[in-house]
């Protein structure tokens, strides 16, 4: 079994759906951080069978929890200090997502209006449905993973 060492300070994203860690790495823009990042794919999980894990050695404030909640609010966020878990952050579906995902409706004004941010609003919390603020097109979450 492959062993990845502990991090001293930062956060561990646990219980990521297997195969989604790279997508999350990308959307959290971890590639832009100058810190140690460990991407663990297909780790064995009693709960999930297989899971992905991300370990990032940086300040938690640099993490956009709204995006993470939007991607998968079942992900566990462990905050690490001095090599130990000191807190867990609950992920709550954000009411609004601004400038992260794009409206794919070619008839939407966002397709032509200069510098108009793409804004999605939480339309149905139970079903986790987000709709474009302008045209109300439902966001296809599967397309989000195809970065």
């Amino acid at each position: 079994m492959l062993n990845i060492g502990k991090i001293e300070e930062g956060f561990v994203l646990d219980h990521i759906e297997a195969g989604q860690s790279l997508s999350i790495y990308h959307h959290l823009q971890l590639d832009k951080l100058d810190c140690t990042v460990a991407i663990i794919k297909n780790a064995r999980s009693g709960k999930m069978g297989k899971k992905d894990i991300l370990k990032v050695e940086c300040d938690i404030d640099k993490l956009n929890l709204d995006i993470l909640a939007f991607i998968d609010h079942n992900i566990t966020v462990n905050i690490i200090k001095d090599g130990n878990i000191v807190a867990k952050k609950d992920l709550v579906l954000p009411k609004e997502i601004r400038g992260v995902i794009k409206c794919k409706n070619p008839r939407c004004i966002t397709s032509i209006e200069q510098e108009l941010p793409h804004v999605f609003l939480l339309a149905d919390e139970k079903a986790e449905v987000y709709r474009c603020k302008y045209c109300e097109e439902k966001f296809d979450k599967m397309s989000f993973y195809k970065y």
């Binding site: 939407c108 004004i109 966002t110 474009c132 603020k133 302008y134 045209c135 109300e136």
Partner: protein, 305 residues
């Protein structure tokens, strides 16, 4: 400052006030003849829509105001590449209220976000056309005396028809409305609407033949079945006559049933029905002017005693 983007922007109580005002306008046009003197309506129509634009212009002129605007994108600065956000900021300096039609969905909302004057969505692509829904509701309330306790048949293209979808969303806020959806299989009402009705425990039926349900209806909302919606010509030819309302079908209906249609009509209502007292679609156009007058007064916060 308020805008109108969707028919649901107004609560049921606010709609009731709006319709009271529209009915008062209907009865006392003279009283409102100068209500908007000195005010200007800008009709910013990025795509042609003669009836809606003229209805807005007629409404403002009836109120003693004046009208400026453009009637297609080619004659506006959009043809030079100006954004909607910039255009509305400029228009805000010229006019007191704006009615905007745009082929892109959500364009009037972008305008409303940047505007210093009230913006009315006069139709944004296939998304919303709130003043049509307000027109439909005012027509029903004025001619039926109520917006609750009736069975409404919606007939024709229920899949793509935005007026139908908006009307359903507006009517579910009233008590004891039963919906009967009459359409070919190809143009059935979308599942998200029937799911919403189920969730709210609102009665509905889906049928294919118009004749079968005519005797039950208090209202019949007709829409056009368009040839281009069908995958093949054979299906279109097979189904199109089901949805032509004629004297024979009207004979099956209640004596006080009303026929509505957002217009333009092509051939889905035979002209012989026009003479029937129950044909309300041209009265509907007139109510469209009254409701737009009431809307302009409401958004400009002008009260007439």
């Amino acid at each position: 400052m308020r805008h109108l983007m969707s028919p649901l922007d107004f609560s049921v109580e606010e709609l009731s006030d709006l319709f009271d005002l529209a009915n008062d306008i209907e009865k006392n046009m003279d009283k409102y003849a100068h209500a908007c003197a000195g005010k200007k309506l800008a009709t910013c129509f990025y795509e042609p829509s003669t009836r809606t634009r003229l209805s807005f212009e007629s409404a403002m002129l009836n109120l003693g105001g004046s009208v400026i605007g453009f009637s297609d994108a080619g004659s506006s600065s959009a043809s030079k590449g100006e954004s909607v956000s910039d255009t509305i900021r400029v228009i805000s300096c010229f006019a007191d209220i704006c009615a905007m039609r745009h082929p892109k969905e959500g364009a009037p909302m972008v305008a409303a976000e940047k505007s210093h004057i009230p913006v009315i969505n006069a139709g944004d692509g296939g998304h919303q056309h709130p003043t049509q829904t307000l027109t439909d509701l005012l027509t029903i309330r004025s001619l039926k005396g109520r917006l609750d306790n009736f069975t409404i048949g919606l007939c024709g293209d229920l899949k793509f028809g935005r007026t139908v979808h908006s009307l359903i969303h507006a009517l579910v806020r009233y008590d004891n409305i039963k919906f009967i959806f009459i359409s070919p299989e190809e143009l059935r009402i979308p599942d998200y609407i029937t799911d919403m009705l189920k969730e709210k425990n609102i009665a509905y039926e889906e049928v294919i033949r118009l004749e079968d349900k005519m005797p039950e209806l208090d209202l019949l909302y007709m829409t056009r079945v368009q040839r281009e919606r069908f995958f093949n010509e054979e299906d279109y030819v097979r189904l199109k006559d089901f949805y032509i309302l004629d004297k024979a079908k009207m004979a099956l209906a209640k004596k006080d049933m009303l026929v509505l249609h957002p217009l333009p009509r092509v051939n889905e209502i035979s002209v012989e029905v026009d003479e029937d007292d129950r044909a309300a679609y041209f009265k509907q156009v007139q109510y469209g002017v009254y409701v737009r007058m009431a809307l302009i007064l409401t958004l400009l916060e002008i009260k007439v005693d």
